[in-house]
């Protein structure tokens, strides 16, 4: 959910730059890589702020009601799991934002923003569906090997793995080493995607045309414009 709310922010930001026809000017002033990094870092700052507000809320709530919910939550959660969850969240948000930026760089009209968000939503949705399979008691005991291979493969696709591993770790269905290996693999894939995205972002900011029929379909204005 956090990923979903943030991807729409970054999609709007890229759309504003593009629809203001400022792409070329901004790319001259700030390199595409720095721009992308800046946008992503500001989202992390927002996330940090949001988390701080939640913690403060629970602290004030706990102090006023005598509830020990937060203290017990942290006390009962293994510290390694907490560290992993934080790292995993960072990677999941990062990759969701990168995917969205890549799609958003095709946008030429604000009405096309959903087109940039939907692919990422589908990925996150896939993660959720796979989680149901993965966390079902029969999954590890059954011999549905094809399904297991399929799921094991798509686990490496960021951010699907990032969405699943914290719960798998908590249930002790996987070891820390396996979770860490997945994180490293996702980071490597994310780095490769980021490099490609910088190039795509730069080209997208310079382009005045809508190349993808999918994006045309999402905007009546553009459909009329490109008839």
């Amino acid at each position: 959910m956090v990923c979903l709310s943030y991807v729409s922010i970054i999609a709007s930001s890229v759309a504003t730059d593009k629809t203001s026809k400022l792409g070329e000017i901004l790319i001259v002033m700030v390199d595409a890589k720095e721009q992308l990094f800046g946008k992503i870092m500001s989202i992390y700052l927002l996330l940090g702020g949001q988390m701080l507000i939640y913690l403060l809320f629970f602290k004030i709530y706990g102090e006023s009601t005598g509830s020990r919910f937060l203290i017990e939550l942290f006390a009962k959660t293994p510290s390694w799991l907490l560290v992993y969850v934080v790292l995993d969240t960072i990677v999941a948000i990062f990759i969701s934002l990168i995917w969205t930026t890549e799609f958003a760089s095709y946008i030429n009209d604000e009405s096309q923003i959903p087109a940039a968000i939907i692919p990422v939503m589908l990925l996150i949705g896939t993660g959720a569906v796979v989680a149901i399979f993965f966390n079902s008691p029969v999954y590890f005991s059954s011999g549905i090997s094809t399904m297991r291979v399929y799921i094991n493969v798509i686990l490496v696709v960021p951010p699907i793995g990032s969405l699943l591993f914290p719960t798998l770790l908590a249930e002790k269905s996987v070891t820390y080493w396996e979770a860490l290996l997945n994180l490293v693999l996702e980071l490597l894939i994310t780095t490769a995607i980021f490099r490609k995205s910088v190039k795509q972002y730069r080209e997208g900011m310079l382009s005045k045309k809508i190349g993808s029929p999918m994006f045309r379909a999402f905007s009546m204005n553009s459909r009329e414009k490109y008839k």
Partner: protein
């Protein structure tokens, strides 16, 4: 100094720029002239390192051009754009900050240029409330306010009335006087004549003509003549050395000579019949040269 050496850029089979070479020195204005699709914007995009040339080199002070030099460049693209919902001041201070300028310094310079370019409106006005001409001036200010070393202006005069075009010319000349290297593209040859030191005419990516403006004129010679007050055009048609002539609605007669010396014969002929208010043998205008080159290279 900016230097392009035998630069080529192709998009699949389409040759956008072929074998383009030129230099821009400090305090010099170079104009790229050409029809749509001639390769002007592609040249700008290569200088800005948006993409690399397939062949050749772009050097800035003998170093290969890369994104690090971009912050020294003021760029006004053909497609104008500003954040419509933001005020002039907020927006330009943001752009100035991206170039490392302090807020107070940026505010001062913004006021100077708004006054200089006669921008109608206050710094607190939102961009959406500005006329097209004023928004264009604001965009030029965004390029000028951090004193760029290189100024690239893609069709800066499009959509401007003559009064505002003159204000823009003044601003560009002020940047030139400060030592800024300037490259601009335009279809309006009158503004090229007012501004450019050096011109490059492009046609379908090929350089068809280039040189210092005075040298280009001399290369073509004083082959154009305008005559007013002479009525019998048929007598001139039979004269030797006349390449072509035409007259607009009994107005001035426009003549193209085969060589400069033919002008004397023509002068003697038209003045032998009495008073003549205008006989002007001159270099062809850049517009005439441009049309000629486009025709020859078609």
């Amino acid at each position: 100094m900016l230097e392009l050496n035998s630069v080529r850029k192709r998009f699949k089979r389409f040759a956008a720029v072929e074998n383009l070479s030129f230099k821009v020195k400090e305090g010099e204005i170079v104009s790229l002239i050409g029809q749509n699709g001639a390769g002007k914007s592609t040249t700008f995009h290569m200088i800005l390192d948006f993409f690399q040339p397939d062949k050749g080199q772009i050097l800035w002070d003998s170093q290969v051009m890369d994104w690090r030099f971009r912050r020294k460049i003021g760029y006004m693209p053909e497609e104008r754009g500003l954040y419509q919902k933001e005020s002039i001041k907020e927006q330009l201070i943001f752009f100035a900050a991206l170039h490392g300028m302090k807020k107070r310094e940026a505010e001062k310079i913004l006021m100077y240029w708004m006054e200089k370019l006669n921008v109608v409106g206050k710094p607190s006005d939102k961009v959406e409330s500005l006329s097209k001409g004023n928004a264009q001036k604001i965009q030029l200010i965004a390029c000028l306010m951090f004193s760029p070393k290189l100024l690239i202006l893609d069709e800066p005069f499009s959509g401007l009335d003559p009064v505002n075009a003159d204000l823009l010319i003044e601003a560009i000349l002020e940047a030139k006087a400060r030592g800024t290297m300037i490259i601009f593209s335009t279809h309006n040859m009158v503004n090229v004549e007012k501004l450019a030191d050096y011109i490059i005419m492009l046609s379908h990516g090929e350089t068809v003509l280039q040189g210092y403006v005075d040298d280009v004129y001399k290369e073509f010679g004083r082959l154009s003549v305008e005559v007013e007050g002479y009525s019998d055009i048929s007598k001139l048609k039979t004269l030797p050395g006349i390449e072509r002539l035409n007259q607009d609605n009994n107005g001035p007669i426009h003549i193209r000579l085969q060589s400069e010396s033919d002008g004397k014969l023509l002068f003697n002929k038209v003045t032998s019949e009495g008073y003549l208010p205008v006989f002007n043998q001159h270099y062809p205008s850049l517009e005439e040269i441009f049309k000629y080159e486009v025709e020859v290279n078609r």
